[in-house]
Every structure is written in structure tokens, then in C-alpha cells.
Subunit: 165 residues, 2 copies
DNA sequence: GGCGGTTACATGCAGTTGCATTCATAATTG
DNA sequence: CAATTATGAATGCAACTGCATGTAACCGCC
């Protein structure tokens, strides 16, 4: 009872002004910066960043081959959105979905040559967009601090992955 | 020619590792924290944060009345998305769209009593969600620093508003 | 081996978004 | 003041998303 009073258990927590501003700026900045980067890519005829993410996961893997579920876990999209993203990537000839030999439920994703090329071709534009919309506003040091503070708001990998089911 | 070589003019800028991490964390954290807050609200039967934003803008205004274009400029949604958000709000009886007497092109938005009540009723849940998903991970001071760093990435109001056309 | 539960992936449907365009009314200007 | 341009708002359509659910294959266990 004392304890409850002390730490406010059972009562909805209230956020301070600083917290609220951090929240507001986080959402605004997140969507805004994302938008601008996406726009830059689109203007140059490139697909969305989400495409890049998948291609990059595959490109990092040996042979450009990875379990579908593994990629899914890394890109943090809802399962049904991920499946349909793969539909688009496959239709565009960037990846192939191959039924897994060992586990009849799962697929193995293969990066095609076209996919590899696109990933590689996108990077300079992507990198430049990040430099313009993030880098140019922050010192090296500020970027590090920002990254650190942001990471404090992220749940760990496992929790993160669970949210996509 | 010397100049070009020195400052890299004409060559796409490259971002450093710190910058890239800041970018990655910004996007991840932004969407993730937003998601969790939205989920909390939804679980309690409340509409999305975007609804709150509009209602709040109107509630702040004297009489709960504001030009549609003015609200539009503040909430930073694309024009067509904003219009349709208003469709939903109006259908839900939270606002009314009234043709403007002085300018035949524009509307004036009126917050209804139901709208005012909903806004007010949402806040505790919203505030609590912010406290949980942002506040509990940061000290007061960290929140201030984070807000400051994030604001450096935002373009000014005017530029921001232009992007929504 | 067969039955309940779980995992991996897919899909139908309704709701939302992006894009291009339209409509009507101001504002500007030749 | 008529013609042009600019502004505020809306909409048709295609694409995308969320949600619930479906299907098939695996896993554990009696």
C-alpha cells in the first residue's frame, strides 16, 4: 500500500514535457526523414527501401540464399506484408522462392543476378540520401549519441521479431 | 577543379557508419515506438493517433473552430490523406465541415462535443503509452537531448508543410 | 501410427494510401 | 475586365496494408 503510493503502481503513468517532446519529434522526424529518403530513391527510379532491405539481407548471406523465415525475422515486417513484398520482388525477377528440401513448410529465398545488381546499384543513391537527410545535419559525434539514445527505445531482437506474427 | 576535389562537389556524398546507424535506429525506433503506442490505444478501443492530432488542433483553437487548410498544415499529412481522414472523423461525428463564408473554396472545421470528449478521453491512455514506450527508457535529461538531436533533422515548418501538397 | 498443437507460408476481404486529375473559387495580370 | 494562374478541396483508381483465416507440413506424445 505504501509501495503502491510510492511508485504509482496501479495508476497510469504520466509523461513529462521532455518526454512528450521526444515522442513528438521522434515520430515526426522518423516519418519525415524516411519520406525524404524514399522520395530521393523514387525520383531516381529506384524501388522503396523495404526492397533494398530484403535484397541486402540476401546479398550478405553466402550464395545469396536464406530461409524465408530468417529474412522475415530480420526485416521486421508483419508476416503478411512480408509475403506480399516477396511476391513483388519475385514478380520483378529479383528473387526466387524455392520450396525447402528439408522442411516442406518453408521456402528458401535466392537472390537473382538482377536482384544483386539492383541492390548494388541502389546503394550509392541510398547512401547519398542518408548523407543528405541525416548526415548533413549532425556531427559524427551527435550521430553516435542519437543512435545510442534511439537504441534505448528499442526492445531486444527477440521481442521485436515476435511482433511481426 | 581543385575545389571540386576538395569538397567533393559533383560527387554523391557518402555517409559514415555513425550516420548509418543513426538512420537505421531512427527508422526502426520511430516505426516501432509508434506501433506500440498505436497498439496500446487500439487495445483500449481508441482510434489512431492521427485522429487525436486533428481533434487536438481543433480543441486548442478558440471555439474548437479552425480553417481546414490550417489544420492540414499542422498535422503534416498529404492533402488527399487529410481529406479522407476528415471524412472518417466527420462520419464518426467528431467534427463538422462547414463551407467558409468568406472564401468559397475553403472549409471551416468545427469540433463537436463528441469530438471534444473523445480527445479528452484519449489523453490519459495516450499519455500513459508515451510514458511506457518512451519515458520509461530515458531519463528526463536524455529525453531532452534526444528531442534536440531529432529536431536538427527536421526541416522548418514551411518546408515541411510544402511537402504535403 | 494417429491426434492435438505448432510453425511456415499464403490469401480473401475490407479499409487505407498514393497518384493523377478534377472541380470550383479566388488572385493576378496584361 | 477577361484570361491566366494559383489555391482549397475532393475523387477514381490502382496499389498496399491489416486482420482473420486457410492450408500444408512438422513435432510431440500416447
Amino acid at each position: 500500500m505504501q509501495l503502491q503510493a510510492i511508485c504509482g503502481a496501479g495508476v497510469a503513468a504520466k509523461s513529462s514535457d521532455d518526454i512528450q517532446l521526444a515522442w513528438a519529434n521522434l515520430v515526426r522526424t522518423g516519418t519525415n526523414v524516411m519520406q525524404r529518403v524514399e522520395d530521393d530513391l523514387k525520383r531516381q527510379g529506384f524501388p522503396p527501401v523495404a526492397w533494398y532491405d530484403v535484397l541486402w539481407e540476401l546479398d550478405k548471406a553466402p550464395e545469396g540464399v536464406l530461409q524465408q523465415s530468417e529474412v522475415q525475422a530480420r526485416v521486421l515486417l508483419a508476416q503478411y506484408n512480408f509475403v506480399r513484398l516477396l511476391d513483388r520482388l519475385e514478380r520483378a525477377g529479383l528473387i526466387r522462392r524455392v520450396p525447402c528440401k528439408v522442411d516442406g513448410r518453408s521456402n528458401v529465398l535466392h537472390l537473382t543476378d538482377a536482384g544483386r545488381d539492383l541492390r548494388k546499384g541502389m546503394w550509392p543513391a541510398y547512401d547519398a540520401a542518408i548523407a543528405v537527410h541525416v548526415g548533413s545535419h549532425l556531427s559524427q559525434n551527435e550521430a553516435g549519441v542519437l543512435a545510442g539514445l534511439l537504441s534505448k527505445l528499442l526492445p531486444d531482437r527477440k521481442t521485436l521479431a515476435m511482433r511481426t506474427r
